[in-house]
Protein backbone atom coordinates (compact mmCIF):
# COMPACT_ATOMS: atom_id res chain seq x y z
CA UNK A 1 0.00 0.00 0.00
CA UNK A 2 2.77 2.40 0.98
CA UNK A 3 4.67 1.51 -2.15
CA UNK A 4 1.60 2.13 -4.32
CA UNK A 5 1.07 5.45 -2.61
CA UNK A 6 4.69 6.42 -3.22
CA UNK A 7 4.43 5.45 -6.88
CA UNK A 8 1.24 7.45 -7.25
CA UNK A 9 2.82 10.47 -5.60
CA UNK A 10 5.81 10.19 -7.92
CA UNK A 11 3.50 9.97 -10.93
CA UNK A 12 1.54 13.02 -9.83
CA UNK A 13 4.77 14.95 -9.31
CA UNK A 14 6.02 13.94 -12.76
CA UNK A 15 2.70 14.93 -14.32
CA UNK A 16 2.76 18.29 -12.53
CA UNK A 17 6.30 18.93 -13.72
CA UNK A 18 5.38 17.94 -17.26
CA UNK A 19 2.28 20.13 -17.25
CA UNK A 20 4.28 23.03 -15.84
CA UNK A 21 6.94 22.70 -18.52
CA UNK A 22 4.26 22.39 -21.20
CA UNK A 23 2.70 25.61 -19.93
CA UNK A 24 6.06 27.34 -20.02
CA UNK A 25 6.68 26.23 -23.57
CA UNK A 26 3.13 27.19 -24.63
CA UNK A 27 3.83 30.72 -23.43
CA UNK A 28 7.17 30.80 -25.22
CA UNK A 29 5.62 29.54 -28.45
CA UNK A 30 2.76 32.05 -28.24
CA UNK A 31 5.01 35.11 -27.99
CA UNK A 32 7.52 33.79 -30.49
CA UNK A 33 4.89 33.57 -33.22
CA UNK A 34 3.24 36.81 -32.20
CA UNK A 35 6.64 38.42 -32.73
CA UNK A 36 7.00 36.74 -36.11
CA UNK A 37 3.59 38.13 -37.12
CA UNK A 38 4.73 41.58 -36.04
CA UNK A 39 7.51 41.50 -38.61
CA UNK A 40 4.69 41.89 -41.12
CA UNK A 41 4.11 45.36 -39.69
CA UNK A 42 7.56 46.25 -40.97
CA UNK A 43 7.04 44.58 -44.32
CA UNK A 44 3.90 46.69 -44.53
CA UNK A 45 5.54 49.94 -43.51
CA UNK A 46 8.28 49.24 -46.04
CA UNK A 47 5.81 48.88 -48.89
CA UNK A 48 3.71 51.76 -47.62
CA UNK A 49 6.64 54.12 -47.37
CA UNK A 50 8.24 53.15 -50.67
CA UNK A 51 4.90 53.42 -52.45
CA UNK A 52 4.23 56.83 -50.90
CA UNK A 53 7.58 58.16 -52.12
CA UNK A 54 8.15 59.51 -55.58
CA UNK A 55 9.97 57.09 -57.87
CA UNK A 56 13.17 59.08 -57.59
CA UNK A 57 13.31 58.44 -53.83
CA UNK A 58 11.87 54.95 -53.53
CA UNK A 59 15.02 53.03 -52.64
CA UNK A 60 16.29 55.71 -50.26
CA UNK A 61 12.96 55.52 -48.44
CA UNK A 62 13.17 51.74 -48.31
CA UNK A 63 16.75 51.77 -47.00
CA UNK A 64 15.80 54.30 -44.35
CA UNK A 65 12.90 52.15 -43.18
CA UNK A 66 14.94 48.95 -43.03
CA UNK A 67 17.86 50.64 -41.27
CA UNK A 68 15.51 52.00 -38.62
CA UNK A 69 14.37 48.44 -37.88
CA UNK A 70 17.93 47.14 -37.90
CA UNK A 71 19.37 49.81 -35.59
CA UNK A 72 16.50 49.50 -33.13
CA UNK A 73 17.25 45.82 -32.48
CA UNK A 74 20.78 46.14 -31.03
CA UNK A 75 20.10 49.43 -29.26
CA UNK A 76 17.00 47.97 -27.65
CA UNK A 77 19.20 45.11 -26.47
CA UNK A 78 21.89 47.49 -25.21
CA UNK A 79 19.62 49.77 -23.18
CA UNK A 80 15.94 49.66 -24.22
CA UNK A 81 14.89 46.65 -22.18
CA UNK A 82 16.76 47.99 -19.15
CA UNK A 83 14.79 51.25 -19.41
CA UNK A 84 11.50 49.34 -19.33
CA UNK A 85 12.41 47.30 -16.29
CA UNK A 86 14.16 50.12 -14.40
CA UNK A 87 11.86 53.14 -14.73
CA UNK A 88 8.23 52.27 -13.88
CA UNK A 89 8.42 54.73 -10.96
CA UNK A 90 9.50 57.79 -12.96
CA UNK A 91 13.00 59.01 -13.72
CA UNK A 92 14.85 57.18 -10.93
CA UNK A 93 16.08 53.73 -11.99
CA UNK A 94 15.21 50.80 -9.77
CA UNK A 95 17.27 47.65 -9.22
CA UNK A 96 14.61 45.70 -11.15
CA UNK A 97 16.29 47.01 -14.28
CA UNK A 98 19.36 44.89 -13.62
CA UNK A 99 17.66 41.91 -15.27
CA UNK A 100 17.53 43.92 -18.51
CA UNK A 101 21.19 44.91 -18.61
CA UNK A 102 22.92 43.43 -21.66
CA UNK A 103 25.17 41.26 -19.52
CA UNK A 104 22.37 39.90 -17.31
CA UNK A 105 21.81 36.16 -17.22
CA UNK A 106 18.31 36.67 -18.61
CA UNK A 107 19.65 38.38 -21.73
CA UNK A 108 20.74 35.34 -23.66
CA UNK A 109 20.12 31.61 -24.08
CA UNK A 110 19.17 30.25 -20.69
CA UNK A 111 17.56 26.87 -20.06
CA UNK A 112 15.99 28.12 -16.84
CA UNK A 113 14.40 31.18 -18.50
CA UNK A 114 12.01 30.62 -21.41
CA UNK A 115 10.37 34.03 -21.09
CA UNK A 116 12.91 36.85 -21.26
CA UNK A 117 13.93 36.37 -24.88
CA UNK A 118 10.43 36.23 -26.32
CA UNK A 119 9.24 39.20 -24.23
CA UNK A 120 12.32 41.19 -25.21
CA UNK A 121 11.67 40.31 -28.87
CA UNK A 122 8.03 41.39 -28.69
CA UNK A 123 8.94 44.70 -27.08
CA UNK A 124 11.70 45.18 -29.66
CA UNK A 125 9.10 44.85 -32.40
CA UNK A 126 6.94 47.46 -30.67
CA UNK A 127 10.00 49.71 -30.59
CA UNK A 128 10.66 49.16 -34.28
CA UNK A 129 7.01 49.98 -34.98
CA UNK A 130 7.42 53.43 -33.44
CA UNK A 131 10.49 54.01 -35.63
CA UNK A 132 8.59 52.89 -38.73
CA UNK A 133 5.74 55.27 -37.92
CA UNK A 134 8.26 58.11 -37.73
CA UNK A 135 10.06 56.95 -40.86
CA UNK A 136 7.07 57.53 -43.14
CA UNK A 137 6.39 61.09 -42.02
CA UNK A 138 9.83 62.39 -42.96
CA UNK A 139 10.49 60.71 -46.30
CA UNK A 140 12.25 62.38 -49.23
CA UNK A 141 14.20 65.06 -47.37
CA UNK A 142 15.64 63.79 -44.08
CA UNK A 143 19.30 62.80 -43.80
CA UNK A 144 19.78 59.12 -43.11
CA UNK A 145 22.28 59.75 -40.29
CA UNK A 146 20.01 62.19 -38.47
CA UNK A 147 17.06 59.90 -39.07
CA UNK A 148 18.82 56.87 -37.58
CA UNK A 149 19.73 58.84 -34.45
CA UNK A 150 16.16 60.08 -34.06
CA UNK A 151 14.74 56.60 -34.69
CA UNK A 152 16.95 55.16 -31.94
CA UNK A 153 15.90 57.94 -29.59
CA UNK A 154 12.23 57.23 -30.26
CA UNK A 155 12.34 53.44 -30.45
CA UNK A 156 14.93 52.52 -27.85
CA UNK A 157 14.44 55.34 -25.31
CA UNK A 158 11.25 57.39 -25.46
CA UNK A 159 8.44 54.98 -26.17
CA UNK A 160 9.88 52.39 -23.81
CA UNK A 161 10.11 55.00 -21.07
CA UNK A 162 6.43 55.68 -21.75
CA UNK A 163 5.80 51.92 -21.59
CA UNK A 164 7.57 51.71 -18.22
CA UNK A 165 5.27 54.44 -16.93
CA UNK A 166 1.96 53.43 -18.51
CA UNK A 167 2.26 49.89 -19.85
CA UNK A 168 3.79 48.07 -16.91
CA UNK A 169 2.07 46.45 -13.91
CA UNK A 170 4.00 48.83 -11.62
CA UNK A 171 4.02 51.90 -13.87
CA UNK A 172 3.14 55.11 -12.04
CA UNK A 173 0.47 56.04 -14.57
CA UNK A 174 -1.36 52.86 -13.55
CA UNK A 175 -0.65 52.93 -9.82
CA UNK A 176 -1.36 56.66 -9.38
CA UNK A 177 -3.94 57.33 -12.11
CA UNK A 178 -5.49 54.01 -13.13
CA UNK A 179 -4.31 54.57 -16.72
CA UNK A 180 -5.56 51.99 -19.23
CA UNK A 181 -4.02 51.46 -22.67
CA UNK A 182 -4.37 47.79 -23.56
CA UNK A 183 -3.13 47.98 -27.17
CA UNK A 184 -0.67 50.89 -26.83
CA UNK A 185 -2.81 53.56 -28.52
CA UNK A 186 -0.99 56.16 -26.47
CA UNK A 187 2.20 54.36 -25.53
CA UNK A 188 3.16 53.50 -29.11
CA UNK A 189 1.00 55.56 -31.47
CA UNK A 190 0.49 58.86 -29.68
CA UNK A 191 4.14 58.99 -28.59
CA UNK A 192 5.32 58.25 -32.14
CA UNK A 193 2.85 60.71 -33.68
CA UNK A 194 3.85 63.46 -31.27
CA UNK A 195 7.51 62.76 -31.95
CA UNK A 196 6.84 63.14 -35.70
CA UNK A 197 5.07 66.42 -34.96
CA UNK A 198 8.10 67.77 -33.10
CA UNK A 199 10.56 66.69 -35.78
CA UNK A 200 8.49 67.97 -38.71
CA UNK A 201 8.60 71.50 -37.31
CA UNK A 202 12.39 71.55 -37.61
CA UNK A 203 12.73 69.38 -40.69
CA UNK A 204 10.64 71.55 -42.98
CA UNK A 205 8.68 70.47 -46.05
CA UNK A 206 9.82 68.77 -49.23
CA UNK A 207 10.80 71.21 -51.96
CA UNK A 208 7.68 72.01 -53.95
CA UNK A 209 5.21 71.08 -51.21
CA UNK A 210 4.10 74.66 -50.64
CA UNK A 211 3.62 77.52 -53.10
CA UNK A 212 4.93 80.95 -52.25
CA UNK A 213 1.50 81.93 -50.90
CA UNK A 214 1.58 78.93 -48.55
CA UNK A 215 -0.86 76.77 -50.50
CA UNK A 216 -0.11 73.09 -50.05
CA UNK A 217 0.63 71.13 -53.24
CA UNK A 218 -0.32 67.47 -53.45
CA UNK A 219 2.71 65.22 -53.98
CA UNK A 220 1.09 61.92 -54.94
CA UNK A 221 2.56 58.51 -54.11
CA UNK A 222 4.38 56.92 -57.05
CA UNK A 223 2.74 53.54 -56.42
CA UNK A 224 -0.66 53.56 -54.75
CA UNK A 225 -1.17 49.78 -55.08
CA UNK A 226 2.07 49.25 -53.14
CA UNK A 227 0.76 51.62 -50.47
CA UNK A 228 -2.51 49.70 -50.19
CA UNK A 229 -0.83 46.30 -49.95
CA UNK A 230 1.63 47.72 -47.42
CA UNK A 231 -1.18 49.01 -45.26
CA UNK A 232 -2.97 45.68 -45.43
CA UNK A 233 0.22 43.93 -44.29
CA UNK A 234 0.38 46.31 -41.34
CA UNK A 235 -3.15 45.25 -40.44
CA UNK A 236 -2.10 41.58 -40.51
CA UNK A 237 0.88 42.43 -38.33
CA UNK A 238 -1.42 44.22 -35.91
CA UNK A 239 -2.95 40.90 -34.97
CA UNK A 240 0.48 39.83 -33.79
CA UNK A 241 0.97 43.18 -32.06
CA UNK A 242 -2.31 42.98 -30.18
CA UNK A 243 -1.81 39.29 -29.39
CA UNK A 244 1.52 40.23 -27.83
CA UNK A 245 -0.28 42.79 -25.67
CA UNK A 246 -2.05 39.91 -23.89
CA UNK A 247 -0.40 38.11 -20.98
CA UNK A 248 -0.67 34.34 -21.15
CA UNK A 249 -0.98 32.87 -17.67
CA UNK A 250 -0.04 29.27 -17.03
CA UNK A 251 -3.18 27.41 -16.03
CA UNK A 252 -5.27 30.59 -15.69
CA UNK A 253 -7.29 33.16 -17.61
CA UNK A 254 -5.50 35.58 -19.93
CA UNK A 255 -4.83 39.05 -18.55
CA UNK A 256 -3.78 42.38 -19.99
CA UNK A 257 -0.44 43.96 -19.04
CA UNK A 258 -2.11 45.52 -15.98
CA UNK A 259 -3.34 42.18 -14.66
CA UNK A 260 -7.04 42.61 -15.51
CA UNK A 261 -8.64 39.40 -16.81
CA UNK A 262 -9.53 39.27 -20.49
CA UNK A 263 -9.83 36.92 -23.45
CA UNK A 264 -8.22 36.68 -26.85
CA UNK A 265 -11.76 36.55 -28.18
CA UNK A 266 -12.22 40.16 -27.10
CA UNK A 267 -9.22 41.09 -29.23
CA UNK A 268 -10.57 39.08 -32.16
CA UNK A 269 -14.02 40.69 -31.97
CA UNK A 270 -12.84 44.24 -31.59
CA UNK A 271 -9.80 44.30 -33.86
CA UNK A 272 -11.89 43.19 -36.83
CA UNK A 273 -14.82 45.47 -35.96
CA UNK A 274 -12.56 48.48 -35.44
CA UNK A 275 -10.67 47.81 -38.65
CA UNK A 276 -13.90 47.60 -40.60
CA UNK A 277 -15.26 50.74 -38.93
CA UNK A 278 -12.08 52.64 -39.75
CA UNK A 279 -12.07 51.61 -43.40
CA UNK A 280 -15.75 52.43 -43.87
CA UNK A 281 -15.51 55.71 -41.98
CA UNK A 282 -12.52 56.91 -44.00
CA UNK A 283 -14.09 55.79 -47.26
CA UNK A 284 -17.38 57.50 -46.47
CA UNK A 285 -15.68 60.81 -45.82
CA UNK A 286 -12.90 60.80 -48.44
CA UNK A 287 -13.57 58.31 -51.28
CA UNK A 288 -9.77 58.09 -51.38
CA UNK A 289 -8.18 54.61 -51.28
CA UNK A 290 -5.05 55.95 -49.57
CA UNK A 291 -7.11 57.31 -46.70
CA UNK A 292 -9.48 54.36 -46.77
CA UNK A 293 -6.69 51.93 -45.94
CA UNK A 294 -5.10 54.38 -43.51
CA UNK A 295 -8.58 54.49 -41.95
CA UNK A 296 -8.35 50.77 -41.21
CA UNK A 297 -5.18 51.46 -39.27
CA UNK A 298 -6.70 54.49 -37.55
CA UNK A 299 -9.78 52.46 -36.62
CA UNK A 300 -7.72 49.82 -34.84
CA UNK A 301 -5.53 52.45 -33.13
CA UNK A 302 -8.56 54.45 -31.97
CA UNK A 303 -9.99 51.29 -30.41
CA UNK A 304 -6.70 49.84 -29.23
CA UNK A 305 -6.61 51.25 -25.72
CA UNK A 306 -9.87 49.48 -24.86
CA UNK A 307 -9.90 46.59 -27.28
CA UNK A 308 -9.98 44.26 -24.29
CA UNK A 309 -13.22 45.73 -22.97
CA UNK A 310 -15.34 47.10 -25.85
CA UNK A 311 -18.69 45.76 -26.90
CA UNK A 312 -17.82 45.03 -30.57
CA UNK A 313 -20.33 47.46 -32.14
CA UNK A 314 -18.84 50.18 -29.93
CA UNK A 315 -15.41 49.15 -31.22
CA UNK A 316 -16.85 49.56 -34.72
CA UNK A 317 -18.21 53.04 -33.93
CA UNK A 318 -14.91 54.15 -32.38
CA UNK A 319 -13.05 52.79 -35.39
CA UNK A 320 -15.47 54.59 -37.71
CA UNK A 321 -14.87 57.91 -35.93
CA UNK A 322 -11.11 57.32 -36.08
CA UNK A 323 -11.21 56.61 -39.81
CA UNK A 324 -13.63 59.41 -40.58
CA UNK A 325 -11.59 62.09 -38.84
CA UNK A 326 -7.99 61.41 -39.91
CA UNK A 327 -8.19 63.24 -43.24
CA UNK A 328 -9.55 66.35 -41.56
CA UNK A 329 -6.86 66.24 -38.90
CA UNK A 330 -4.22 65.70 -41.56
CA UNK A 331 -5.54 68.69 -43.51
CA UNK A 332 -5.09 70.76 -40.36
CA UNK A 333 -1.50 69.55 -39.98
CA UNK A 334 -0.57 70.03 -43.64
CA UNK A 335 -2.64 73.05 -44.67
CA UNK A 336 -3.03 75.06 -41.48
CA UNK A 337 0.16 74.25 -39.59
CA UNK A 338 2.06 73.77 -42.88
CA UNK A 339 3.86 70.66 -41.72
CA UNK A 340 4.65 68.29 -44.56
CA UNK A 341 3.65 64.95 -43.07
CA UNK A 342 4.13 62.73 -46.13
CA UNK A 343 1.99 59.82 -44.95
CA UNK A 344 -0.31 61.44 -42.42
CA UNK A 345 1.48 59.87 -39.44
CA UNK A 346 0.54 62.65 -37.03
CA UNK A 347 -3.14 62.17 -37.85
CA UNK A 348 -3.24 58.38 -38.23
CA UNK A 349 -1.08 57.58 -35.21
CA UNK A 350 -0.99 60.71 -33.06
CA UNK A 351 -4.63 61.75 -33.34
CA UNK A 352 -6.06 58.22 -33.36
CA UNK A 353 -3.86 57.30 -30.40
CA UNK A 354 -5.11 60.32 -28.47
CA UNK A 355 -8.69 59.49 -29.42
CA UNK A 356 -8.13 55.90 -28.31
CA UNK A 357 -7.04 56.94 -24.84
CA UNK A 358 -9.87 59.41 -24.39
CA UNK A 359 -12.68 57.07 -25.44
CA UNK A 360 -11.55 54.71 -22.68
CA UNK A 361 -11.95 57.64 -20.30
CA UNK A 362 -15.45 58.26 -21.67
CA UNK A 363 -16.82 54.73 -21.93
CA UNK A 364 -14.81 52.58 -19.51
CA UNK A 365 -14.65 54.89 -16.49
CA UNK A 366 -15.01 52.97 -13.24
CA UNK A 367 -13.52 49.69 -14.43
CA UNK A 368 -11.49 48.20 -11.61
CA UNK A 369 -7.74 47.91 -11.69
CA UNK A 370 -5.76 45.27 -9.79
CA UNK A 371 -4.46 45.91 -6.27
CA UNK A 372 -4.52 49.45 -4.94
CA UNK A 373 -4.48 51.14 -8.34
CA UNK A 374 -7.42 53.54 -8.82
CA UNK A 375 -10.11 52.57 -11.31
CA UNK A 376 -10.08 53.79 -14.92
CA UNK A 377 -11.13 57.45 -15.13
CA UNK A 378 -11.39 60.25 -17.67
CA UNK A 379 -8.81 62.29 -15.75
CA UNK A 380 -6.40 59.35 -15.59
CA UNK A 381 -6.69 58.90 -19.35
CA UNK A 382 -6.22 62.65 -19.94
CA UNK A 383 -3.09 62.71 -17.76
CA UNK A 384 -1.80 59.66 -19.63
CA UNK A 385 -2.48 61.31 -22.98
CA UNK A 386 -0.64 64.48 -21.96
CA UNK A 387 2.31 62.44 -20.71
CA UNK A 388 2.45 60.42 -23.93
CA UNK A 389 2.27 63.57 -26.05
CA UNK A 390 5.02 65.24 -24.02
CA UNK A 391 7.34 62.21 -24.06
CA UNK A 392 7.11 62.22 -27.86
CA UNK A 393 6.89 65.89 -28.77
CA UNK A 394 9.41 67.58 -26.47
CA UNK A 395 12.44 65.32 -27.07
CA UNK A 396 11.53 65.04 -30.78
CA UNK A 397 11.54 68.81 -31.16
CA UNK A 398 14.72 69.37 -29.13
CA UNK A 399 16.72 66.52 -30.69
CA UNK A 400 15.75 67.47 -34.24
CA UNK A 401 16.56 71.11 -33.52
CA UNK A 402 20.07 70.08 -32.35
CA UNK A 403 20.54 67.95 -35.47
CA UNK A 404 19.38 70.87 -37.59
CA UNK A 405 22.00 73.12 -35.99
CA UNK A 406 24.79 70.65 -36.78
CA UNK A 407 23.40 70.07 -40.29
CA UNK A 408 22.49 66.42 -39.80
CA UNK A 409 18.77 66.81 -40.34
CA UNK A 410 17.90 67.86 -43.88
CA UNK A 411 19.42 66.79 -47.19
CA UNK A 412 20.74 69.51 -49.51
CA UNK A 413 18.27 70.93 -52.01
CA UNK A 414 20.33 69.57 -54.92
CA UNK A 415 19.85 66.03 -53.63
CA UNK A 416 16.13 66.55 -53.14
CA UNK A 417 15.71 67.85 -56.66
CA UNK A 418 17.66 65.12 -58.42
CA UNK A 419 16.24 62.45 -56.10
CA UNK A 420 17.82 60.69 -53.16
CA UNK A 421 18.24 57.44 -55.10
CA UNK A 422 20.53 59.09 -57.64
CA UNK A 423 22.29 61.06 -54.93
CA UNK A 424 23.15 58.25 -52.55
CA UNK A 425 21.94 54.80 -53.65
CA UNK A 426 24.17 52.68 -55.92
CA UNK A 427 21.21 50.93 -57.52
CA UNK A 428 18.19 51.90 -59.63
CA UNK A 429 14.71 50.96 -58.47
CA UNK A 430 13.30 50.81 -61.98
CA UNK A 431 16.28 50.47 -64.33
CA UNK A 432 14.12 50.11 -67.44
CA UNK A 433 12.27 53.36 -66.82
CA UNK A 434 13.44 56.94 -66.74
CA UNK A 435 11.72 57.44 -63.43
CA UNK A 436 14.09 60.09 -62.20
CA UNK A 437 13.27 62.28 -65.15
CA UNK A 438 9.54 61.81 -64.88
CA UNK A 439 9.24 61.91 -61.14
CA UNK A 440 11.81 64.60 -60.75
CA UNK A 441 9.72 66.95 -62.82
CA UNK A 442 8.34 68.62 -59.73
CA UNK A 443 10.35 71.78 -59.37
CA UNK A 444 10.57 74.21 -56.50
CA UNK A 445 7.77 76.69 -56.56
CA UNK A 446 9.78 79.54 -55.13
Amino acid sequence: MDQQLAELTAKVAALQQSAGMQGTIDIEVYYFWATALMVLIHAGFLGYEMGASRAKNVLASGIKNILAFAFIVPTFFFFGWWIYLAFPGGFTPSADGDAGLPWAMAMGPNLSDNASGVFWAAFTMFAATTASIFSGAVIERIKMSGFVLLAILLGSVLWILGAAWGWHPSGWLLTDWGFHDFGCAGIVHLIAGAFCFGVLINLGPRIGKYLSDGTAVDIPPHNVPMVLVGLMLIIVGFFGFLAACVIMVKGGQWTNIYGQPMTLSAVAFNTLMAFAGGVIGAWAFTRDPFWMMSGGLAGIIASAAGIDVWYPPLGFVIGFVGGATIKTVNDGVVKVLRLDDAVGAVAVHGWSGFLGLMVVGLFATGYANPGDAPPISFMGQLVGALVCFSIGFVPGFIASYCLKVVRLLRVPDEAQLVGLDIAEVPLKAYPESDTAGAAGALQPAE
Binding site: L67, F71, P74, T75, F78, P102, W103, M105, G108, P109, N110, L111, S112, D113, K143, M144, S145, V148, L149, L408, V411, P412, E414, A415, V418, A423, E424
Partner: protein, 56 residues
Protein backbone atom coordinates in the same frame (compact mmCIF):
# COMPACT_ATOMS: atom_id res chain seq x y z
CA UNK B 1 28.15 31.08 -17.11
CA UNK B 2 29.64 27.81 -18.10
CA UNK B 3 30.36 27.39 -21.77
CA UNK B 4 31.61 25.29 -23.41
CA UNK B 5 28.76 23.00 -22.44
CA UNK B 6 30.19 19.53 -22.01
CA UNK B 7 27.11 18.10 -20.31
CA UNK B 8 23.55 19.51 -20.38
CA UNK B 9 22.39 18.30 -16.96
CA UNK B 10 21.94 21.30 -14.71
CA UNK B 11 22.91 23.76 -17.43
CA UNK B 12 21.17 27.15 -17.29
CA UNK B 13 22.54 30.19 -19.13
CA UNK B 14 25.12 29.55 -21.82
CA UNK B 15 26.68 32.60 -23.40
CA UNK B 16 28.79 30.82 -25.93
CA UNK B 17 32.38 32.05 -25.99
CA UNK B 18 31.47 35.00 -23.72
CA UNK B 19 31.71 32.81 -20.63
CA UNK B 20 34.04 35.11 -18.67
CA UNK B 21 33.35 38.74 -17.80
CA UNK B 22 36.37 39.97 -19.76
CA UNK B 23 35.29 38.23 -22.93
CA UNK B 24 31.63 39.10 -22.43
CA UNK B 25 32.33 42.81 -22.05
CA UNK B 26 34.78 42.70 -24.96
CA UNK B 27 32.17 41.13 -27.26
CA UNK B 28 29.51 43.52 -26.00
CA UNK B 29 31.89 46.45 -26.53
CA UNK B 30 32.63 45.31 -30.07
CA UNK B 31 28.90 45.04 -30.82
CA UNK B 32 28.29 48.55 -29.46
CA UNK B 33 31.30 49.91 -31.37
CA UNK B 34 30.07 48.34 -34.61
CA UNK B 35 26.67 49.95 -34.11
CA UNK B 36 28.14 53.38 -33.42
CA UNK B 37 30.68 53.16 -36.24
CA UNK B 38 27.95 52.10 -38.66
CA UNK B 39 25.94 55.19 -37.81
CA UNK B 40 29.03 57.29 -38.41
CA UNK B 41 29.52 55.46 -41.71
CA UNK B 42 25.97 56.41 -42.72
CA UNK B 43 26.84 60.06 -42.12
CA UNK B 44 30.12 59.79 -44.01
CA UNK B 45 28.43 58.12 -46.99
CA UNK B 46 25.86 60.90 -47.12
CA UNK B 47 28.46 63.64 -46.89
CA UNK B 48 30.50 62.15 -49.73
CA UNK B 49 27.40 61.54 -51.85
CA UNK B 50 26.20 65.10 -51.50
CA UNK B 51 29.67 66.51 -52.16
CA UNK B 52 29.86 64.50 -55.38
CA UNK B 53 26.46 65.78 -56.37
CA UNK B 54 27.31 69.43 -55.85
CA UNK B 55 30.60 69.04 -57.76
CA UNK B 56 28.78 67.73 -60.88
Amino acid sequence: MGSPIVKWEGAAEYFTYADRPTVLFTVLGIAIALTVLSIMKVGRHEKESYEKLTMK
